[in-house]
Symmetry: C2
Subunit: 347 residues, 2 copies
């Protein structure tokens, strides 16, 4: 009988790994394929390389148009791609935008979506150079590919962290996830209570983190200004836990992350409290933070510690020691990966 | 009141034009944006440029899995992107592959799809360097972006045909469209007649053109070998009529295409006859041929005429003379563009 393995049996990362294991590279210019935030292509004779990242966003899976304005969606769709390029210590320069739209959408809707994409592009100085538009049977599909450039000497991969490096993160974590929880709650209430309008006062920050995230261009510029070259870097789209494990597994190191060092905004904490949710879980597994997680040599400690908007949250260890979270009361827990499946099941 | 323009009012090309009109380029390296088969990015200091093309394929719109085997679909999805790069007189080198799959699909299905993509990549010497995999609520979504390289001196745009050029096409036209008609008929019969198996004897070629098309790498290599640099070029995905109009409109020239010069295979003609369809309509508007349509200076006539697999089908004229088809009996008809909407309505 024919074998039929369900996708949930393998999970997102298992599927990618299984597909990637059968793919090899032939071109000498294909420097880095599957397995990082972006692929890397050699430019001829230059001291720069081309970066390529791509993201597919599907209605009902990645976004809910009930509460996600199209302009914001366009902005976010572009931002998540820029974030992948920054995560290689590169600069996004161009994108292609492909959209599939059902007849539920009108031209003005698509223009609104594009308004958001164009706003992100003008803010981050990126050109829209092409794409594809198509009818779709149901819902909205957005596929964006971003092309960036990176200096060959300062490119930051996932698999190059060294034992004894400091682990750093930009901004704060868990806010976008709490924003999502809030929007989901208000959507349910709106339906149950005769269309009562929600009051979002005091929750603007977590909503903004969900609906209008930014990519950390400023952090990349700050690191460059301070002559800090990360030994490894990744952007946080699936949550701190997953991304830390990506770096550690690929770099063959272990790590210790300290719970009390994880940066969390006041609104995030307050919302988690209101929802009676574990705040650390939101920060570890919430995802969609689009912050940068990176490692630097221990010798950089003094320099990094003075930089605003960057927190040192732990350090790498020998691989054999595993990847652990140290709680406030000194207990150790093993970090666990969360793909999309895990996240959806735990909701 | 809010204006709501339906997408069908504008059509595919109208929508693209409307969106493109609001998009400008900022980066000096963004050589060519929306409006050709692929975008063009300058490489630093080199005599080559990077090409980027992207295609979004949606189940129920672009393919029907009732009769489209997943491996063939993967092959075709890759080929249509390679074709866009060849249409710039370039060489495809890398692709990213994003897929969205509902739980109707199992891991083995996705692997079969990838088998096809990998076969195309190994045949055309292209690397798979990245992508994105995601759950989807319904159906299968495939988004492929192709990165290619082109010599700055021999790149072929759409908007550079000159008045008095010869118009040439590779291979033959209308076969993929007739293959599609055949598959659609057999699908209906299969459902009506207790699952009777179709007999495809003598129709292998048109089926192959629909289910396993090839990109014309060989033609690009032939032109290079013969030192022929097309003055303009495009690949035929939407039909000869649409693509000729793209070249003429963007190059500000008119054209005369001669019906009796349009290359059509015997199986295509025989199938059109069986369906009682107008053969020229199939060749002009059928689409999915993935042949190359290009122009060369009139002085190339003798050289081009001797090349196997290339037909001279007409010539460009002054813009004011318009774009016309000359029928076998000498009548003139204006060529008309066909986007996806038109095609679907006329089926």
């Amino acid at each position: 009988m024919e074998t039929r393995t369900t996708i949930s049996e393998l999970g997102e990362f298992g599927l990618i790994e299984r597909l990637a294991s059968t793919i090899s590279l032939q071109h000498p210019t294909s420097i880095k394929g599957i397995g990082d935030d972006a692929a890397v292509i050699e430019n001829n004779e230059g001291n720069s390389q081309t970066l390529i990242s791509t993201d597919l966003l599907l209605e009902g899976i990645h976004f809910d148009l009930t509460y996600f304005p199209l302009k914001h969606l366009g902005y976010k769709a572009a931002i998540v791609n820029f974030s992948d390029i920054y995560a290689m210590n590169g600069t996004p320069q161009q994108i292609t935008v492909s959209i599939g739209v059902s007849n539920r959408f009108c031209i003005e809707d698509i223009e609104e979506l594009y308004e958001g994409i164009k706003l992100a592009c003008s803010t981050y100085k990126v050109d829209i150079i092409g794409g594809d538009t198509s009818a779709s049977l149901t819902g909205l599909t957005i596929s964006i590919t971003c092309i960036g450039i990176v200096n060959t000497k300062t490119i930051a991969y996932r698999n190059t962290a060294k034992e004894g490096d400091l682990i750093c993160v930009s901004g704060n974590l868990g806010a976008a996830y709490m924003g999502l929880q809030l929007l989901e709650r208000e959507k349910t209430l709106f339906r149950q209570t005769n269309n009562a309008q929600p009051d979002f006062t005091g929750k603007e920050y977590i909503l903004q983190r969900q609906l209008k995230p930014e990519a950390r261009k400023d952090i990349i510029e700050l690191l460059a200004k301070e002559s800090i070259i990360p030994t490894s870097m990744i952007d946080i789209s699936d949550g701190l836990s997953s991304e830390t494990l990506h770096i550690c597994t690929q770099s063959k190191v272990g790590c210790r992350i300290y719970e009390d060092k994880i940066p969390i905004d006041y609104q995030t904490a307050s919302m988690a409290n209101e929802f009676n949710m574990n705040l650390v879980t939101a920060a570890l597994n919430g995802g969609e933070d689009y912050e940068l997680l990176f490692t630097v040599p221990l010798s950089m400690h003094e320099k990094i510690a003075t930089l605003e908007g960057i927190s040192i949250i732990g350090h790498t260890t020998k691989e054999s020691l595993g990847c652990n979270l140290i709680t406030r009361d000194g207990q150790e827990f093993q970090l666990k990966a969360q793909g999309w499946n895990a996240l959806h099941k735990n909701d």
